[in-house]
């Protein structure tokens, strides 16, 4: 299929493909087992300007667009969903600063993030605040020129390895959702520590840790936007980042399909390659078609964001929800096509199933996405 990519987009896609095949795929199994953070691979991405794709040029970025970010994330994820999310999570942690940072904040943080010298992380989730973000207990109290943070964030992707964090904390508990604010917190801030690193089912190359704030003192200048806008910051950030998660799911699905097609052409049963059996062919046809449908949705949404369309909440939710559901179905079917071998860790396909699962869960579960879509739809119809 021709995706009508521009010259620049083709260049980004081809370069990301090269990085994926030469640097990510050979390292995927190693990091899946060791759960080490893949710094060496991230360094290659950085040297190739990949971290500039989500940062404006005036702050050191390059070829900045959500479409380019999606193309890169998709290619990386074809080879390893875990390594790809280390990259994509830095985009997630960077978007709030790009969207809401003052010129001063942008100048201070974005150039290093654009060069990949530092990676970023976004922290909203807490043990009792997952889908229901209003349950956030982390508090930020203003004292003179500082805010004092107390509380615990968990399941934070890039936690511990990132240098720059955007943290959502309550500045006024009485106001509920309107009492949350967003802060930039640097690794090394007094009172900022890390808890346990999670042992995960999939995306094991990425790090997931607790962030612990104990009278953590940060300059008042690190407040993003205004007090009380924490949830606005979060929602706008997710609108930008969800196409990226969708692209990750899409890449995982595509990677699994490619492995499956290769396998069924080689695997001989009943005297011929199993690709010659109609039952197998129909599975492949469904997988490929669903992937293309997801890709259409992801690219359209990314292009909408880049074109400056204000409200993309519904489309972002659709892209994330659909692409991740497709990824789960396609990877499960791909494993089925590998038969017994697919169930063994000696073959790369089971990892795709494990990596795909999280895309239905994080950055809003697919149930939450459906609620967003339905509410928007009803609201639109009521107009």
């Amino acid at each position: 299929m021709d995706y009508l990519l521009t010259e620049e987009q083709k260049m980004v896609k081809d370069l990301a493909h090269k990085i994926a095949e030469e640097k990510i795929r050979p390292a995927a199994a190693k990091y899946d087992i060791s759960e080490e953070y893949p710094w060496d691979v991230l360094k290659v991405m950085a040297e190739s300007d990949m971290f500039g794709l989500f940062i404006p040029e005036e702050y050191g970025g390059f070829a900045n667009s959500v479409m380019n970010l999606c193309l890169a994330t998709e290619e990386f994820s074809r080879a390893c969903g875990g390594i790809a999310v280390c990259y994509a999570a830095s985009a997630l942690g960077t978007f709030p600063i790009v969207l809401f940072g003052t010129d001063e904040q942008k100048k201070k943080y974005l150039p290093d993030l654009a060069k990949g010298k530092k990676v970023a992380a976004f922290a909203i989730t807490e043990p009792e605040a997952g889908s229901d973000a209003s349950g956030i207990k982390t508090v930020a109290k203003k004292e003179g020129d500082y805010y004092i943070l107390n509380g615990l964030k968990h399941f934070i992707t890039n936690g511990g390895d990132a240098e720059t964090y955007v943290v959502i904390a309550m500045t006024d508990k009485t106001k509920g959702a309107r009492g949350a604010s967003a802060f930039i917190v640097e690794k090394g801030a007094p009172g900022f520590g890390f808890g346990k690193k999670e042992d995960k089912f999939g995306i094991r190359a990425s790090s997931t840790r607790e962030l612990i704030f104990t009278d953590c003192k940060i300059p008042a200048a690190n407040l993003l936007a205004k007090e009380g806008l924490g949830f606005i910051v979060t929602m706008r950030t997710f609108d930008m980042s969800r196409p990226g998660v969708a692209a990750q799911a899409l890449g995982i699905a595509q990677g699994a399909l490619e492995l499956a097609v290769k396998y069924v052409r080689e695997r001989v049963q009943f005297g011929k390659p199993i690709s010659s059996f109609q039952g197998i062919q129909w599975m492949l046809a469904d997988m490929a078609t669903e992937i293309e449908a997801a890709r259409g949705l992801v690219y359209s949404t990314a292009r909408m964001v880049d074109a400056g369309v204000k409200d993309v909440a519904k489309e972002s939710a659709m892209a994330k929800m659909y692409a991740s559901d497709v990824a789960m179905k396609v990877t499960i079917d791909a494993l089925q096509l590998f038969g017994g071998y697919g169930y063994m860790k000696d073959y790369p396909i089971e990892k795709y199933v494990r990596d795909a699962k999280i895309t239905q869960i994080y950055e809003g579960t697919n149930q939450v996405q459906r609620s967003i879509i339905a509410l928007k739809l009803i609201k639109e119809m009521a107009k």
Binding site: M11, L15, E22, D49, F62
Partner: protein, 260 residues
């Protein structure tokens, strides 16, 4: 430090076919890439430039489509691309190629260093690098695996041997051929790719170079390819079994047969 890197476009696959009439490679339909050994030459030049400044010119002799390889080298960090391209150069062997490349290099101005890959993956002769240095009358150091030290006017290099390596100090300008142990070629950057897309490539034809027409192209090539063939695979040895005395007897008989 001004560096010239010589590269060659080669067919990607090792399973290329040979034209049975001309005994030369059939390049049609095979994807062309930069000779893998030349990637190490480009990378080393970029690393030296990053340390000492200067500029890198990449030179190749080949058909017009070899321009894409010059752009790829620029995307990795080279500055300029020079394509030596003329029908008159077709059919050049290593003598004519190195003579022609040396002629082009003379047109590029002052340089400190020429770097080549140790050999091309298609011809495997390893003669063009040394040939260029001979035509230019500058020192050559082949099979370099490490640049140890660079001082004003000289370089200290590690040269790979079959067993171990030797340390050689060479005055500059000099020509090096490098082996794959020297570095790991980088993946280009997006900025590099953008720069490469719009970079100007200079083309040199026979007209622009001061060359002896008798020494270029097919007629300037002393090498004649008579036949290209795959050597017959070696057959396995024979193991004699039995008592020592019996084996000795058998062996003597076998040797006799062989001699007769």
């Amino acid at each position: 430090m001004n560096i010239i890197v010589c590269i060659k476009q080669v067919p990607e696959t090792t399973e290329v076919r040979i034209n049975p009439e001309t005994n030369t490679l059939m390049r049609e339909g095979v994807k062309a890439i930069i000779n893998p050994f030349d990637m190490y030459a480009i990378e080393e030049a970029v690393r030296l430039k990053e340390r000492f400044g200067g500029k890198i010119s990449v030179v190749t002799m080949g058909p017009p489509q070899a321009e894409q390889d010059l752009r790829e080298a620029i995307s990795m960090g080279a500055d300029l691309g020079d394509l030596v391209c003329d029908r008159a150069f077709a059919g050049s062997d290593t003598w004519a190629t190195s003579y022609t490349l040396a002629g082009a290099i003379k047109k590029l101005g002052a340089f400190d260093l020429i770097i080549c890959g140790k050999q091309a993956s298609d011809g495997d002769t390893a003669q063009v690098g040394p040939g260029i240095s001979t035509h230019l009358n500058i020192p050559q150091v082949t099979y370099v695996k490490k640049v140890e030290e660079v001082t004003v006017g000289s370089m200290r290099l590690e040269r790979m041997l079959e067993e171990g390596y030797e340390i050689i100090e060479a005055p500059l300008p000099a020509l090096l051929t490098v082996v794959k142990e020297i570095n790991e070629p980088r993946i280009p950057s997006l900025k590099g790719l953008m720069r490469a897309k719009s970079a100007k490539i200079t083309t040199f034809t026979q007209k622009e170079l001061d060359l002896d027409p008798q020494q270029i192209g097919l007629c300037g090539s002393p090498t004649q390819v008579i036949k290209i063939f795959t050597p017959a695979p070696r057959v396995g040895g024979q193991i004699l079994k039995g008592e020592i005395g019996e084996i000795a007897k058998q062996l003597v008989e076998l040797i006799k047969d062989e001699v007769n």
